[in-house]
Symmetry: C2
Subunit: 377 residues, 2 copies
């Protein structure tokens, strides 16, 4: 059996492992701690830090091909894998262009992709100077390792600069950048699939709704005009091509009221905005990610339903996770429940999701929200 | 997390385990040998014989609820589980009515279900006497432990009796029965779901095509008149009710040319004729089996596509299994490939299956067969 290694053992690795079973592909998980959601689905696991040389060596020796479930792996780890002769996707070069947001956005702008104005900043003073050009509000962002709103600070006025600078680690030498605030109407996302040979396919353009900077609801397809769909797909394809990506990528976009569409960011892996594909598309993002990184043929990305809505199950307290309400949620007709089986819950933590397919977005969303409200993890 | 124990670790347990992941249910596998397909998906495994008291005790201690993946477990094993206070479905009483085919058919006949004529036989002479009543051809069958044609012998004339009697173990005291041969036009099957509270749901009636007594192709829905569908569903519901079944059951039927429908047999578990439900129905037979044995709500059983066809991937040689052709099969648009990852292959062994959804049975079948032909395991 072919062995696919995954750097990380969370829910994205778990759902990838689930898809791997049908394909006859064995999974190897490399995660800092034992008992991660994905590690429970395989007997092949390395527990250790990704930058621990001997753990990494052991992991490489167990794998035929390697991928990752988040972009916080240092590109140098991927370089070590490449030097050992094991194919790894995304590549170190792709990851290096993604994981530093300043480099990422520069790469995209150079590729002709419309992005919000941005600038690297080295001091509070340079933020003040940028403000003259951008105007408030602006976003101060950590260049690396931000997620779900962590690592972002909205600057409403000059008064916020010192606090934001300190909070995001500017005084500790952390790389920061500012970005012009974009008054978007919708946030859109597109999952893109790109093969080793450059063949490229997009999943439907979806609308994502955030709650406290965390993905909360995904509506597929997005209710936007056909020309917006075309522009969004075009940007998404360009973005993945610009970083020479292989595998599945989540491209997030802003749609403004005047129909302008701007690039927001890219995730070099399966993405929350693509979970709906498990039930709603011919081939799920997870199966397609596996197929693509293995160099196999790309699966069809079309919808099998008029509409689908996914609602995240987010933690609401600190403590040990429970499974309350799962059976109640399942009683909602057509509710597809996905539990990530994390042992601990904390506010805002992604604990699972629910997808409902229906003839309209409204119907799908009403049922998905109703089911999600019944779960208390 | 709730722990569901499964007696057996083959492909049915594997696909049940796959469905369990999304529901946040942990699986415990009890199988004679290590490294079974399902055992690779969990860290909770007991290796031993089902009738080994200490292994069984260990297994029971690990589980909240228990089910099985085949009917070759002795009902006494289920009794031990029941005595230990752990819910097990199907129950020992249900299994006792199923696993001996003479008892099974007697139960069904007494419930008013139309079955082919049958008779228990104690000697070659009693077969000769029955022949006067039934006429040739007749089937001589082992009352227990037959599958995929093993344990069956077609008697074309009196000359076959001694050979068949010896081959099926009559001289060793194995219980045998004869059954009148039914000149069927089609074989049909219905998956039935029955809850702890007696709530009952049927999946669509499908047509099954056997090759050398092994399920080869399943067409959903079956191309039979509406009244035949109604009769088939009615028989299937009656059959599961007659054995007080809880969980998912596969009911196999014969449809004669004159539209008579006769009961053939029942599998007290997910069944090959229901694999198509993974992609083609709102809720798969595996998810519904788990939900039902846990006492949760029953999921919708309707088709999400006009037509679906499943083709089994059967072994064609003896040796170590390989994964050749999987990537070729995936290149067929819409081919959903399921590999069971058995280490060894032998002729006729079920190694995987392929399902294709389409607007017509013809289209689905053409593509499913094309994809299956490309795989060489």
């Amino acid at each position: 059996m072919i062995r696919l290694g995954i750097l990380g053992g969370g829910q994205l690795a778990q759902m990838t492992a689930q898809a791997a079973i049908s394909l006859g592909v064995e999974i190897v998980i490399f995660e800092r701690k034992p008992d991660s959601p994905a590690s429970r689905l395989t007997h092949h696991q390395v527990v250790g830090a990704w930058d621990d040389d001997s753990a990494l060596e052991e992991f490489i020796s167990l794998c035929d091909v390697i991928t990752l479930e988040n972009e916080f792996v240092d590109a140098s780890v991927l370089e070590t894998i490449e030097e050992a002769g094991v194919p790894v996707y995304p590549s170190s070069a792709t990851l290096a262009r993604v994981q530093d947001k300043l480099i990422q956005k520069t790469t995209m702008r150079e590729a002709g992709i419309p992005v919000p104005d941005f600038l690297g900043v080295e001091s509070p003073d340079s933020i003040r100077i940028a403000a003259d050009q951008f105007g408030y509000p602006m976003l101060l962002k950590a260049r690396r390792d931000g997620y779900d709103g962590y690592g972002n600070f909205t600057l409403e006025s000059e008064d916020d600069i010192e606090t934001a600078w300190e909070e995001l680690g500017g005084n500790d030498g952390r790389g920061l950048m500012i970005e012009k605030f974009v008054p978007f109407e919708y946030e859109l996302a597109v999952m893109v699939l790109r093969g080793r040979d450059g063949e490229i396919r997009t999943y439907p353009v979806v609308e994502t709704v955030q709650r406290d900077h965390i993905c909360h609801v995904v509506r597929a397809p997005a209710n936007v005009p056909a020309d917006s769909v075309q522009i969004a797909e075009e940007i998404a394809r360009k973005a993945v091509t610009a970083i020479d990506g292989v595998g599945v990528f989540g491209v997030e976009l802003f749609k403004l009221k005047d129909s302008t569409i701007l690039y927001n960011e890219i995730a070099p892996r399966p993405h929350n905005s693509g979970h709906y594909t498990i039930e709603a598309c011919v081939t799920s993002q997870f199966e397609n990610h596996i197929r693509t990184v293995l160099g196999w043929s790309l699966g069809a990305t079309s919808l099998v339903t008029p509409s689908a809505v996914m609602v995240n199950l987010l933690g609401e307290r600190d403590g040990e996770a429970e499974a309350e309400g799962i059976r109640d949620a399942l009683a909602i007709a057509g509710a597809h429940v996905h539990i990530y089986s994390k042992r601990a819950v904390r506010p805002g933590r992604k604990m699972g999701h629910i997808t409902v397919l229906a003839d309209s977005i409204e119907e799908a969303e009403a049922r998905a929200r109703q089911a999600a409200d019944l779960v208390n993890l």
